[in-house]
């Protein structure tokens, strides 16, 4: 990782300003306070920051994060995205002066202090230089293939390993009752028009998946003891299944039919993989 090798000293009238800043897993808080935790939830190895300036224009900053693997570069991108694809790298989003994208094992943010026509142009120009430098991985985490396509809101797919990520997007419990860890792969996605979520977790072996299944039921749904579809409150249905290394849970389905259809599709995906 070396932004100095990638970005020329001058790009379309914009010049590099100052030294490249570097932050590791411990020092990232100096740069972005608590937001550093978002990267540390993944296999973040380090980051570089390069500033570009042009007279009468707000500063533009390039942040480059080494996420250790394409899976985790996608993971941190999926954690933050909210909007439409911007057509940069292997996945991207542009919002008012902030372009974020991933390519290979790297995640990038290019930020204009304020959005102007000029900052927007240089942001996409810098992204073009960066994406030309690194080869794409052409791969997303394998567990994404287990998501049923029908009613899937693809912009809401989140890939992660840790319980803090799950709770960020969908609070389940303050305890790690699903036994998520660096050894697990998990995907969460929204289905349909309401806030119905499907969570699929792959564990390292059948023992851990069974323990997670049993502990989740015992704490979250103590009134039941086996896989199935249950009404948990008015207008909220939950479905759960254990299949070898996998636990699948559907939260907040609007009715039994919706929960059951999604549940059956998810089971079929795992069975047929």
């Amino acid at each position: 990782m070396n932004l100095a090798e990638i970005i020329p000293k001058e790009v379309k009238g914009w010049h590099r300003e100052g030294d490249i800043e570097k932050y590791d897993r411990e020092t990232i808080f100096r740069y972005m306070n608590g937001a550093g935790e978002i990267y540390r939830m993944y296999d973040y190895r380090g980051m570089e920051v390069l500033r570009m300036v042009k007279p009468d224009q707000p500063e533009v900053k390039i942040e480059m994060f080494d996420m250790g693997s394409p899976d985790d570069a996608f993971g941190v991108f999926s954690h933050m995205r909210e909007g439409d694809e911007a057509g940069v790298g292997e996945g991207s989003e542009y919002r008012k002066g902030l372009l974020s994208f991933w390519q290979g094992k790297y995640f990038f943010c290019i930020i204009g202090g304020q959005e102007t026509e000029e900052t927007k142009q240089i942001i996409f120009e810098l992204a073009k230089i960066i994406t030309g430098f690194y080869k794409p991985s052409n791969a997303k985490p394998a567990i994404l293939r287990l998501l049923p396509e029908e009613n899937l809101n693809s912009g809401t797919i989140r890939y992660f390993n840790l319980p803090s990520s799950l709770n960020y997007h969908y609070f389940v419990s303050d305890k790690n009752i699903l036994h998520l860890s660096r050894e697990t792969d998990a995907v969460l996605a929204k289905y349909g028009e309401s806030y119905c979520y499907l969570l699929c977790i792959k564990y390292p072996d059948n023992t851990v998946s069974k323990k997670a299944f049993v502990d989740f039921l015992s704490v979250y749904l103590p009134e039941v003891e086996k896989a199935g579809i249950y009404q948990v409150s008015d207008g909220k249905w939950l479905a759960i299944e254990l299949m070898q290394k996998y636990v699948v849970i559907i939260f907040d389905a609007p009715n039994r039919q919706f929960a059951e259809a999604l549940w059956r599709q998810a089971i079929a995906k795992i069975r047929n993989q």
Partner: protein, 302 residues
């Protein structure tokens, strides 16, 4: 299976859904509290919401006399006395050393007009000017804060990329030399900061600035003026959990109005609920909070 888990060692989403702390999790529509006839209620459970349409001008600047009047009115009603001087004197004694814990976050700091009004109020209680300090990130190195016998906690309310919202409970995190130790599970146990010796039992007044709150943001690079609005209000109380709970409900209502649907906070600001259910710092149950609304009531959202 660990049976202790079953016996509620932890808290799940369902516990909040079943319980009254749901509101503080930022998940559902808030309860409208009828504030009639509760002026005589204990101070601890009171939260004053005061608004003035002219508090923030068209240029985005605060109107100092109006801000001063809002704060004075709020403390008068909070402490149920007939003058603001009496209210300030009920909070502070002349020999107090008072730190005003502010917030300097660049895009949305505590307005200096609010800081100055608080300082004036403390001064009116007889506290020497040299014994009143205002600080945020430097509190641990600030002699006034190190010797403080009393604190005022004041900051704007905003959504926060890691804690769900940045409110009063969170504002004391700079009293910890290692703030990152409180990051676990989206800052779930932030309330424990309030048990640090430099903070414990010292905060006499909490003011959540609701002049131009930030109601939405995405990811680490998180500020967009489009997601602020002129609410022109202040929330004032002695219980930081109760004040944050009311503030959160206003943010949730604004999100519903803006997005046209129920849009849960991400991450969920469960540190507010936990401040009540796990750490007993205050009350996160809207049904137990006596909300008193003063002033401008258009689009009050609660």
């Amino acid at each position: 299976m660990d049976r202790k888990l079953r016996n509620k060692e932890g808290f799940t989403r369902r516990d909040f859904i079943k319980g009254a702390s749901l509101a503080a999790l930022g998940l559902a529509v808030g309860v409208t509290v009828d504030s009639k006839d509760i002026v005589k209620a204990p101070v601890r459970t009171k939260v004053i919401l005061i608004r003035n349409k002219a508090a923030v001008g068209a240029d985005g600047k605060c109107n100092p006399p109006i801000i001063q009047d809002m704060i004075d009115q709020a403390v008068r009603v909070l402490f149920d006395v007939d003058s603001s001087d009496k209210a300030w004197k009920s909070m502070f004694k002349p020999d107090d050393i008072v730190g005003i814990k502010s917030n300097v976050w660049g895009p949305l700091p505590t307005p200096p007009e609010v800081e100055r009004s608080i300082k004036k109020g403390i001064f009116s209680a007889g506290v020497a000017e040299k014994n009143i300090g205002i600080d945020d990130r430097g509190v641990l190195g600030n002699d006034i804060f190190k010797k403080a016998t009393a604190l005022v906690n004041v900051r704007p309310l905003r959504t926060h990329h890691w804690a769900g919202v940045g409110g009063l409970i969170k504002n004391h995190i700079m009293f910890s030399p290692e703030p990152w130790n409180y990051h676990d599970n989206s800052c779930a146990d932030l309330a424990t900061v309030w048990k640090l010796p430099i903070v414990k039992d010292k905060t006499r007044l909490n003011i959540l600035v609701m002049l131009t709150p930030l109601f939405h943001g995405i990811g680490a690079h998180h500020f967009d003026r489009e997601y602020t609005w002129k609410y022109n209000g202040l929330l004032v109380g002695t219980d930081p959990v109760a004040v944050d709970t009311v503030g959160l409900q206003i943010l949730m209502a604004k999100r519903r109005a803006y997005f046209g649907e129920e849009k849960p906070m991400k991450p969920s600001p469960h540190h507010i609920a936990f401040a009540d259910t796990k750490h007993n710092l205050g009350v996160a149950d809207l049904g137990k909070i006596n909300l008193i609304k003063l002033g401008w009531d258009e689009d009050v959202l609660i």
